[in-house]
């Protein structure tokens, strides 16, 4: 990735963060922390790596992106709206009666969402099944799956990881959003998942650990993953609430109230 592409993706990530802050702020409350921590990874995946076509969201050979930490749905929605999967106006309907954009991802409601999520731990098994089916069909799709660090406390994550490692699913790229915080506090205080690199290595994964807010590092890690010959884990060291000063300053920003004043001030969007 050259410097200009990196720069343009950095700008794009900032715009998407502002879209997310505005979207959740318009509703008034939401999972802002985990939405913002994955935004750089989503930007790299959707704007520079994934084989996708917003005009043909179900094309068979597309890459799949599963947001297993389903509460980061709004992060997916701002990306999908920006790419034209649905009108940007929809973002104003987040979580409102009759919306197509529920807080947790729903493949039956939202164009571009490849899998429903919300009950933690389940998306990774689904991603493994997609990767196995893709191999069976010689489908070139890469399956991206983003899991949370709190989510890694779910036993199903390890069932799925064992199978992915055992079957050397090199078309699977799992990303751990390692922001170190969960709903009730620090992951390390509640039920520590450390050492994550050693854990996934021992499950047979090719593991890379990077700064999850470094666009170039994310891009390089995805490129490296594609030739690894193994199931891939990219540990994204992230900051929960990254890019929203009020969220970063909060003791815990897993889910928080966002007033109109807060989102306008943060985004500088006073004219919308």
């Amino acid at each position: 990735m050259d410097a200009s592409q990196s720069q343009s993706l950095t700008v794009k990530a900032r715009q998407l963060r502002d879209d997310a802050i505005q979207t959740i702020g318009t509703f008034g409350v939401g999972h802002i922390g985990g939405v913002l921590s994955v935004m750089d990874a989503l930007t790299v995946i959707f704007y520079s790596k994934a084989n996708i076509d917003p005009k043909n969201p179900r094309k068979q050979d597309r890459d799949r992106v599963i947001m297993s930490k389903g509460h980061a749905g709004p992060a997916m929605y701002v990306v999908l709206a920006d790419l034209g999967y649905f009108p940007k106006e929809w973002l104003k309907t987040l979580n409102k009666n009759g919306t197509n954009l529920p807080s947790h991802c729903d493949m039956q409601k939202t164009p571009g969402i490849d899998m429903t999520a919300g009950s933690l731990g389940q998306g990774l098994s689904v991603a493994v099944g997609m990767a196995m089916a893709a191999k069976l069909d010689k489908n070139p799709a890469t399956i991206y799956c983003i899991i949370g660090d709190g989510e890694a406390q779910e036993g199903q994550i390890w069932e799925a990881s064992m199978l992915a490692g055992s079957r050397k699913l090199d078309n699977l790229v799992v990303m751990l959003d390692y922001n170190k915080m969960q709903l009730d506090g620090k992951v390390s205080d509640i039920n520590d998942i450390y050492p994550v690199v050693d854990k996934w290595k021992s499950f047979g994964f090719y593991v890379q650990e990077i700064d999850g807010h470094d666009i170039e590092a994310i891009s390089d890690a995805i490129d490296n993953a594609k030739g690894s010959g193994r199931a891939n884990m990219i540990v994204l060291n992230t900051v929960k609430g990254k890019g929203a000063s009020f969220a970063e300053a909060a003791a815990n920003c897993h889910s928080m109230t966002i007033t109109e004043d807060m989102w306008r001030k943060e985004t500088g969007r006073y004219d919308v």
Partner: protein, 314 residues
């Protein structure tokens, strides 16, 4: 009544091979119980389409759901408690709520688990599966029914749960059987006093009970309610109208089971005296089918007694 010459599990596995020959979407998953499900023939014919994912049922259901998103029609097998209770949230969210077309085969229903005992003896599988929106819940009676059901199950656009007795069942049907999922089969229509609505291994017992009742001058209809959901509302109404009394017969807890399903319809559409032969809120235990059937009061004699009681309440 004769015993089937074919096991239901072998019949299903061979039928899956036949179906997979002409439909490349068919894949089979198991959680280390291939030997118990006779699916080796599928593995040998289609090694790349058979996935033993190890002892991890929750993951198996998720993997099946992922394959379904890619256009496959996965059949995921385990013993009935582990195919349902163990991975209920995965079935609920990753399969049903996501609108994915996964077929779940749960074997050894109720007392059929015999020596595996209470941990393996599901009296609640149909109740919990029935509570999942749009889930089809089917219990085949014998090998011929299983064989004729398979193409329908594969073609059904939503998830289907099959509660499968594995071994040689009482032979009720032969190859001439024609039936539809969701449409009950009336096996005996000449009784005027009571209708016995049965499923699975209880169909044979209901037929035997009808013979005993006939000897005592009591006319019993017998209906095979193989599909508990969507239940055949018309068949329940017809039973109530023709005989004015209903006895349900199930190898399952009466709470949420076939008795509950029929009662829901009867109470709404055609209230008549009803008795429910089934497991009355108990856990399982080790023992032979015949012994356990005595213990839990699901024998032919229990059906006869229940029929008389229902009739007495008219």
């Amino acid at each position: 009544m004769t015993t089937d010459e074919r096991e239901i599990r072998q019949t299903l596995a061979q039928a899956l091979v036949s179906l997979a020959e002409r439909d490349e979407r068919i894949v089979v998953l198991d959680a280390d119980l291939m030997s118990c499900h006779a699916t080796k023939c599928f593995k040998e014919r289609f090694p790349e389409r058979f996935f033993n994912v190890g002892i991890a049922e929750q993951n198996m259901i998720g993997v099946a759901a992922g394959m379904a998103t890619m256009g496959k029609i996965p059949f995921a097998y385990s013993f009935a408690p582990f195919a349902t209770r163990r991975c209920y949230d995965q079935i609920f969210i990753s399969v049903a709520y996501s609108g994915l077309n996964v077929k779940i085969i749960g074997s050894e229903p109720g007392v059929a688990a015999e020596a595996n005992g209470g941990t393996h003896m599901p009296f609640e599988d149909m109740a919990i599966m029935r509570a999942i929106p749009k889930m089809v819940c089917f219990e085949p009676t014998d090998a011929a029914m299983m064989e004729k059901a398979l193409p329908q199950i594969a073609d059904y656009p939503t998830a289907v749960y099959v509660r499968m007795f594995r071994k040689k069942a009482a032979k009720i049907y032969d190859e001439s059987l024609e039936f539809e999922l969701g449409k009950a089969i009336t096996l005996k229509d000449d009784g005027k006093d009571v209708t016995l609505i049965a499923s699975g291994i209880m169909v044979e017992r209901a037929l035997q009970a009808a013979d005993i009742l006939a000897e005592q001058g009591i006319g019993a209809r017998v209906v095979n309610m193989h599909t508990w959901k969507p239940i055949d509302v018309e068949a329940v109404k017809e039973s109530a109208e023709k005989t004015g009394a209903i006895v349900t017969c199930e190898n399952h807890n009466i709470y949420g089971g076939l008795g509950g399903a029929v009662a829901e319809v009867a109470a709404r559409e055609c209230p008549v005296p009803m008795e429910t032969v089934g497991i009355n809120d108990e856990f399982g235990q080790v023992g032979k089918n015949a012994y356990l059937s005595e213990v839990y009061h699901i024998t032919t004699a229990d059906i006869v007694n229940a029929a008389k009681k229902a009739i007495s309440r008219k």
